[in-house]
Amino acid sequence: MAQFEQGRVIDQVTKLNGKHASSKGELIETVIHLIAMTLGNNGGKIKPETPLFSSHGVFDSVGLLEFVLRLEDTFSISIPDEDLDPDVFQSPQTIVTYLNSRLQQDA
């Protein structure tokens, strides 16, 4: 799905949807990949349970905005303000839980 060049992720897949990333494993891989793209690295240190915005978390609010836009674009969904909940965006794993529910709703 992605290749790495000089530490930068070159994305070859710009659009995914529930059909392409339907299993939990594929979803977590895709979410970590999107985080890595936002950070401009290969995502090697990001695990499903990695906190995304503790004091040493991977995102600040600007990075998080970019990541949310990538999520919306990749999964062709719109994330409403009421879903911008710290519990939802705590880690890649909690995001996958949220995406599963959204993709099932939209199916």
Binding site: S55, D60, S61, V62, D81, D83, L84
Partner: protein, 336 residues
């Protein structure tokens, strides 16, 4: 045009009465006057030209423009591309910027290509300046210098291998203190000029009017500086007590100067942790205004949770107390 933050000048036949490469070196007096007034008001000025770099540099040296333009694009690229690079580099929204060019074709061409930007003649700019009286704050006067300091920060950041080590080396200091009357103009500026990190629930005039209300109102401002310079007053929060336990955030604005990782969060936490602010929980409304989603995400990062069925967000003091802040930011509290 929302608010004029940036003027991007054309050079030949606009600032210069003629063309530099053809040997013309006279400055258009109307342009010189406008440039001087913009500088006094702290409006950023940039320049886009297709002149050769060495010809342009000779003009910079001759006219003493070293500190005037915070960004210059001097190459053969199309003008629209140069303008986009300037806007991107300075982080200015096209709605807050204008090209000044005496060529009407160029003006129409740019407004068709760069969505939201204005394009004025020098006479248009003069009319705007004459009709728009402003009070210039210390931060406003220093604005061009701050952007130049920001460019030095960005250069050093790019040159470092470890971003966090770089942030720690900056000696970033945020001082939180109560609002005083002398802050009124700067707070007005923050509430008016800040778009991305602005709660914006109240109209600015009403938000200003409420600042000096007696009773259980707390207005707190944040000042920031680092090794590169003094960024002045960058954040403000207005809290109103609702009963003894709850603080309602009426206004909140944090300048885009806090873009480095963790700074906006540290500033928000610092404002809410001011010693005079002793609430068990904080509540605010959030209304999307087309620009302020970064603030919504900052509130989420700080732990504010949406309240079902409303446009309100809530944060408990326990979460605020437990929030761990970046170790590269030094917070302190002081009086006015």
């Amino acid at each position: 045009m929302r608010i004029l933050k940036l003027v991007i000048w054309d050079l030949d036949e606009t600032i210069i009465a003629g063309a530099l490469e053809e040997g013309d070196e006279g400055i258009n007096p109307a342009a010189a006057d406008a440039m001087s007034q913009l500088r006094q008001r702290g409006v950023l000025q940039a320049l886009a030209t297709q002149n050769q770099p060495q010809v342009f540099q000779a003009a910079v040296d001759k006219f003493g423009w070293e500190d005037l333009f915070v960004q210059t694009e001097v190459d053969l690229a199309p003008k629209a591309k140069k303008l986009r690079r300037i806007l991107d580099r300075l982080g200015v929204d096209p709605l807050d910027a204008t090209l000044v060019d005496e060529d009407p074709f160029e003006r129409d061409s740019i407004t068709a290509q760069v969505l939201g930007i204005s394009a004025w003649s020098i006479a248009d700019l003069q009319a705007y300046i004459e009709n728009k009286t402003v009070t210039v704050t210390e931060e406003g006067r220093r604005r061009p210098a701050m952007y130049i300091e920001q460019q030095a920060r960005a250069r050093d950041e790019e040159a470092t291998d470890n971003y966090l080590d770089f942030l720690r080396s900056c000696d970033i200091r945020i001082k939180i203190r109560s609002y005083g009357q002398e802050d009124a103009e700067r707070v007005r500026e923050l509430l008016t000029r800040t778009h991305r990190m602005n709660l914006g629930v109240l109209p600015v005039a009403e938000a200003i009017a409420r600042l000096n209300q007696p009773g259980e109102h707390h207005v707190v401002v944040a000042e920031m500086r680092d090794n590169y310079g003094d960024m002045g007053r960058c954040g403000v929060i207005h809290l109103r007590a609702d009963g003894s336990n709850e603080g309602i955030i009426e206004s909140l604005a944090i300048s885009c100067r806090t873009r480095a990782r963790g700074l906006s969060l540290a500033m928000l936490a610092g404002l809410l942790r001011h010693p005079r602010v002793e609430f068990k929980r904080f509540r605010c409304r959030y209304i999307f205004n087309g620009f302020n989603r970064p603030l919504r995400l900052l509130l989420m990062v700080a732990g504010f949770k949406p309240q079902a069925g409303t446009d309100e967000l809530m944060l408990s003091n326990g979460q605020l107390t437990n929030m761990e802040l970046p170790d590269w930011v030094h917070l302190s509290y002081g009086s006015v």
